[in-house]
């Protein structure tokens, strides 16, 4: 089953293209790297894959759900990791996990345990914490916005069944 499909997806604002157009198809358990010309373009592409931003051209599906028409259903299948990661302390992280458990209607203690397991595997750091938050729910697609290469490799061991999209900026910049 295709977990993610993007067909000629592009995003423009005021006539200016904010990312390079792309097409992509990904099965469950598959990996893809999405190259973009800048850090901002990579972030826009990641948000489109996660159904957070709607493409201005083309069409993207998460599972059977079109991201422009059924964003809540699509988002329910996606874990999104922002480029900046999660910079809060341990208490803030616990609060955020509880918050996500409420929003995704999950058992809170199970969600905390799952986040702890992910952090044990990935170690500390803002990006690892953001991944732990993204994996609180049992997602079919994990979207990583410009991850460090060592983290991108480790994530596969934690979420073996999920499709993983990692955006990469060809001109890197500090988040």
């Amino acid at each position: 089953m295709k977990i993610f499909r993007a067909i000629d997806v592009a995003f423009e604002r005021d006539g200016v293209a904010l990312m390079a157009p792309f097409s992509l198809a990904l099965e469950a358990g598959g990996d893809a790297e999405l190259m973009q010309p800048s850090a901002r373009a990579a972030s826009v592409a990641a948000r489109i894959c996660a159904a957070i931003v709607r493409p201005t051209r083309g069409v993207a599906y998460v599972g059977d759900f079109e991201t422009r028409l059924q964003p809540p259903q699509a988002k329910r299948m996606v874990g999104f990791v922002d480029r900046a990661g999660f910079s809060g302390d341990d208490h803030a992280l616990r609060c955020e996990v509880a918050f996500r458990a409420d929003v995704w209607n999950l058992d809170k203690s199970a969600a905390q345990a799952r986040a702890s397991l992910v952090l044990e595997a990935l170690g500390e750091g803002a990006y690892a914490r953001a991944i732990a938050l993204a994996l609180v729910a049992d997602v079919a697609l994990l979207v990583l916005d410009q991850p460090a290469s060592n983290i991108a490799r480790s994530v596969r061991d934690i979420a073996p069944g999920a499709a993983i999209i990692a955006t990469i900026a060809t001109i890197a910049s500090t988040p």
Binding site: R13, V53, V78, N105
Partner: protein, 199 residues
Amino acid sequence: MNEFRATLAIVRRHLDRRFAIDWAMQFGIVAAIAYAFTRTFAHPILPLLIASTLAAASTAERTHAESLRRLTFFAMPLYGRQLARAHAIAPSLLALSIPAGYALGSALRTREFPLPLFLAMTCAALIATLVSLSSIFREGVRAWLYVALAILVGPIVTLPYVLRPAHETWYALALTAVIGFFALRAFGETLARYDPLPL
């Protein structure tokens, strides 16, 4: 998806220490204004204008706006209308500090504060808040136009009370319910169409 649980989680997130400080500060400022000027406000339109202006401005305030624009809210599996309802509760509670503060300041100075005026101020502040919420997700002139609209619409819904204070408070409440419903729907549409782009 348990919509009530999700809504409650978002509301709890907004009701933090900063919210309590903002509520107390707004309450205090309005109480001071009322204590100083209530005797010079011969016509009820003046406190109603103050209520809607303060409510619209505090809703569109930058720090508050940034908290609503956090990316985490847009990654959640919710429709725009669900997010709008959850986001509107905390600002509406904040808006209640305005009539409450005015009632305190006015009562301290004149030893009386009519309930119909309290209800009318509540209506004006709530409507200004709900309309002003849509300005948060717009930029430049369009954002300012929404704030101006909020300041204007707040007193307009209380016109039945302003024109005939003794009898028409219920009409103002009914008008508030109708306009508030449409303002909330417009905010939901705004959220559904908003694309949170990286800087």
